[in-house]
Symmetry: C2
Amino acid sequence: MKAEIITIGDEILIGQIVDTNSAWIAKEFNLAGIEIYQITSVHDDHYHILEAMSNAEKNADLVIITGGLGPTKDDITKKVICEYFNTKLIFHQPTLDAIIERFKLRNVDMNQLNKDQALLPETCTILPNKVGTAPGMWFEKNDTIFVSIPGVPFEMQYLISEQILPRLRETGLTKAIYHRTVLTQGVPESMLAEKLEDWENRLPDNVKLAYLPNPMAVRLRLSALGNDTQVLKSLVEKEIEKLKLIIPKYIFGYDDDNLASVIGRYLVERNESLAITESCTGGYISHLITSVPGCSEYYKGSVTAYSNEVKQNILGVKKESLNNFGAVSKEVAEEMVVAVKNLFDTDYAVATTGIAGPDGGTEEKPVGTVWIAIAGKDKVYSYKYTFVGDKRERNIIRSSQTSLQLLRRLILQEL
Amino acid sequence: MKAEIITIGDEILIGQIVDTNSAWIAKEFNLAGIEIYQITSVHDDHYHILEAMSNAEKNADLVIITGGLGPTKDDITKKVICEYFNTKLIFHQPTLDAIIERFKLRNVDMNQLNKDQALLPETCTILPNKVGTAPGMWFEKNDTIFVSIPGVPFEMQYLISEQILPRLRETGLTKAIYHRTVLTQGVPESMLAEKLEDWENRLPDNVKLAYLPNPMAVRLRLSALGNDTQVLKSLVEKEIEKLKLIIPKYIFGYDDDNLASVIGRYLVERNESLAITESCTGGYISHLITSVPGCSEYYKGSVTAYSNEVKQNILGVKKESLNNFGAVSKEVAEEMVVAVKNLFDTDYAVATTGIAGPDGGTEEKPVGTVWIAIAGKDKVYSYKYTFVGDKRERNIIRSSQTSLQLLRRLILQEL
């Protein structure tokens, strides 16, 4: 089954919001064996929406339209949809009842705009929205299914998971897809491609390899399309076993793994604990670690020592070290990491101190300079990095990811 | 000038990555007065790329193609482009020289895949890529400009900012657009719409209003299209002055403001300081605060007290409070906030303690329960929230944003 996603709304086209809805839908559909053929973002514009729907109908068996269904005036979607399916808006009593009930529960007054959300196309199947006021609309035209749903993420997610996917499964038209992603680190894309060339050339015809590089890792995605998930799975897993033999030391995880979740797994297995102290990364490493469910098993906490005062008073960094070497120095990073490890009584600790930018750099220590110190059972390691560029956000992310890389290698005794 | 963005790559269509590139390009183009007509994401597929290019040519004066230009095999873009423009690949010596130089500088061996990046279509204008190995390609066909660039974000950003926008400005075809976004809080979309109805109906014809709701705020975007930026600006600003009189207490910022940057501005103006202690939010509030450039003027730091041990030993939370009321309680939140305010010697402090999920909830304290305490000069305020849903990430974000909302209101003496 081939699907297209159409998102409606100027806010995506002027770059005010990032289209995370489409990524979410694509992921869910893939897991259900529905291939996304195209994602199209269009304006809140009558003609443009019609054109996108008609183009989608040519290629797709299923068209998911998100956005354009709020209570306010910029929403013309319902009118355009009526035109496309040659129908008209009528009051849908069960939807109106649900809206009234919803406002009563929340003890909020409702107005005409809220009531008008129960105005719905006469010929569609209404998909009840239990988490919001705008329901989904399901149409069938020739051989294509069209579904229109609101763009508010949790409402969209509810309608996809609880209303649309169950209905699609009933059609029996979905095909089997199996994906697996191998996460590698410490080897550039082109070198990896060279090492994997023979293996890649011998992949079965229905198994596809894609390289997905990002600043911190190269991900290898294997996808297989066919009829039987179990067959596809064993095909892909066999190839991954071969891959493991070719590049054993570069692989650090699979699929939705990330450095923080992999580190978490290692610490649980070893029954060991972690503390962090951050200056330039400002809490981001702690956030990455605590984004992993169950992290309270190994994570005790952190000190964000943003001011020198806190470095001295809470962590006990020596005044002389700050004066003689500066806050961004090997000496201060090492004192920080030892202090937090002792204070929190953990097996491992990580410390960062650097200049995230955009200001605050000097000739000797430009923006992007960061010292990372890592403490293990009986040794402290420290490294200086100079990330290029004055983008604050990017320097924070790179410093944090590099810290986690070092921590992972320390836990595996690879430092 | 109307533009379409085409992104190439299966990774977007299977939901493995979110298309942040298009949002970035859209934003930059809008600031330059180029209207994005459509964003289309297509597969790494020969026929599909050709179809997307041909559809785009019908509507757009400018087509930006991103992705599909890495050194590895899944990249078929260059071949398809040659077919579309009826040309062939030849070695481009300056590009090859630049690649060789790049590898020499980084002291990395290069291989055939790297060299092949200098194979480029004969008829295009090459846009040098100073931050990567794949250059941009600029074509003109009938009245449409096509530019193909790599999908790696910082390479794409370099090519747009340094190569493509300067060339487009030279054409003189760009139109003026002026956008302003007003950030509101504490009023639902439908109620806001009612309050603003009269004002909206009287907006000038070329000024458009859009409501952009998200879980924490409703943003109102005013856009004006015309020929003279200064005229458009004064048109929009005049409307914003009227808006301020209608909803004075709901507006908390403009454009790229966010709660953390607004709070930062208030603290600088007042010469006051802030400390944070986090349990369930795990460092995310500290990350939001430190994402604002210049935050060292008012932010001293934080303690992530993830374990009870840290709550007791570092913050001095009483053992009896933890035993009698539990870590997620009014008493513990208030002890935490007072402790961190004293420890870091600040004017304000924020504390969170809650159950982010997906596990760890009880009947009495389900997942999503969070206590937030805020300390000002001489008073401590604490509030209990019960966010619905077991999504860890969402609970962390909501708890953090709510904490910042409360802090903002405390600073403004509105609590």
